[in-house]
Amino acid sequence: MEHKIQTPITSEIATTLHSGDYVYITGEIYVARDAAHKRMKEALDKGEGLPIPIENSTIYYMGPSPAREGRPIGSAGPTTASRMDKYAPQLLDLGMKAMIGKGKRNPEVVDAIVRNKAVYFAAVGGAGALLSKCIKSSEVICYDDLGAEAIRKLYVEDFPVIVVIDSDGNNLYETAIKEFQILN
């Protein structure tokens, strides 16, 4: 099934999306990867607030290449989500509702997705040039010193993703493979 949705993605929206659905996202999303997650965790450990409004937020795991003049961003495809598994359950419990990345998630993340009625999307890995065309603006929000790993706010239009893990815990990476597997 295909959906066109607008951010913020709430639990009400997330629960209408099912593993295997094709979704086009429009609206504001945040970008953070390894080093930014580490800093956010350190901030929380110290009792400080997060640098982004986490309630109903969508985080895209990505580190872009530099933008050429006149363009909002460079190449901008997803990075491997499992490196953020250590941080994702806490952010989900704090209100994050959607993650965009690529690759497997661990059982703790799947549990946190179900518990919080959230969703994990995959964008096509290695399609950074194509995906950059759906990004209309990009602004560094904080951690500028991290370069490609800084936290950014993007405005995306019809950004194409696929629901991998839905709010019921169905996982496309496990189900789809079985359909095309030829056992020798």
Partner: protein, 280 residues
């Protein structure tokens, strides 16, 4: 004796960095683009078509194919009659990387220390492997390597008794574990034999071999064909979302080894298997 100036090396390496990140080699490009014709999954076809479109956008609009423009890995063959008299070859290559990654709007993905992790902001240092050969040419191959797939690479120190069946199992294990993380359809580089580090080096170098350049040893050629079929039967598919195109190629390099060992290294690369060679 042939003299080569470091300034020429810097400029050529810089151009290579930019070119490799915007265009795939012809064999890689056509194999990726043709894969949509045989893919059985509808979602898989859709993803492969997006990857085709991605290559066209990268070319026309000069946006890197992938945002992970990699750590710059070089294989350098130095003819014994080549002389570089105005500086160090390693410095010239690193200067070329610095220039190419800065001027070419490529991502700087290198940290100076694996634990302290401070970005060097110019994508240096490169990883450079040297080899001395006959002649008066300097042959430079660059393979910018992204880490989504690099992280899924494996090494197995098998026993001689494990034989070819053990090798097949090792390759399938690495590919299965990599699954969607390595951005399939992947290219699988395999090194069999040598020592611990030699097998890993061969696996990396195998990724830079043209698909048209097949192994001369019959069992190696047969193993490449068999493993490609077996990998594509795993069902992982484009993006790991199910399908019949899990790998585009399996390239295997081999070397002599010790009576007690059978090292097998599997270096996985995503569909953006970038490599470029220039000769000076």
């Amino acid at each position: 004796m042939k003299n080569i100036k470091t300034a020429d090396i810097v400029n050529i390496v810089s151009e290579m960095c930019i070119q490799a990140n915007h265009y795939l080699s012809d064999d890689m490009n056509s194999r990726l683009k043709n894969s949509v014709n045989t893919e059985k999954s509808e979602l898989g076809k859709k993803i492969l078509n997006q990857l085709k479109e991605n290559l066209d956008i990268a070319d026309k609009e000069q946006i890197p194919i992938c945002q992970d423009t990699g750590m710059a890995v070089f294989f350098v063959e130095i003819g014994q009659e080549v002389h570089i008299d105005d500086g160090l070859l390693t410095d010239a290559i690193n200067e070329g990387v610095r220039k190419g990654y800065t001027e070419g709007y490529l991502r700087k993905s290198v940290v100076s220390d694996p634990i302290e992790r401070i970005n060097t902001k110019d994508n240096t240092p490169a990883v450079i492997h040297y080899d001395y050969v006959a002649g008066d040419k300097l042959k430079i191959t660059l393979a910018p390597k992204g880490f989504g797939s690099e992280n899924m690479s494996r090494i197995f120190m098998l026993k001689p008794a494990d034989g070819i069946e053990g090798v097949k199992e090792a390759i399938l294990t690495a590919v299965k574990d990599a699954g969607p993380n390595a951005c399939p359809p992947m290219v699988v580089g395999v090194g069999i034999g040598g020592t611990f580090e030699k097998s890993a080096l061969m696996a990396k170098q195998a990724l830079t071999r043209s698909f048209d350049d097949r192994p001369s040893t019959p069992w190696v050629k047969d193993l490449e064909d068999e493993m490609l079929e077996k990998i594509n039967n795993l069902g992982i598919g484009p993006g790991g979302l199910g399908g019949t195109t899990t790998a585009l190629a399996v390239n295997i390099n081999t070397y002599a080894t010790h009576i007690a060992g059978l090292p097998v290294a599997i270096n996985i690369c995503c569909h953006v298997n970038r490599h470029i060679t220039r000769e000076i």
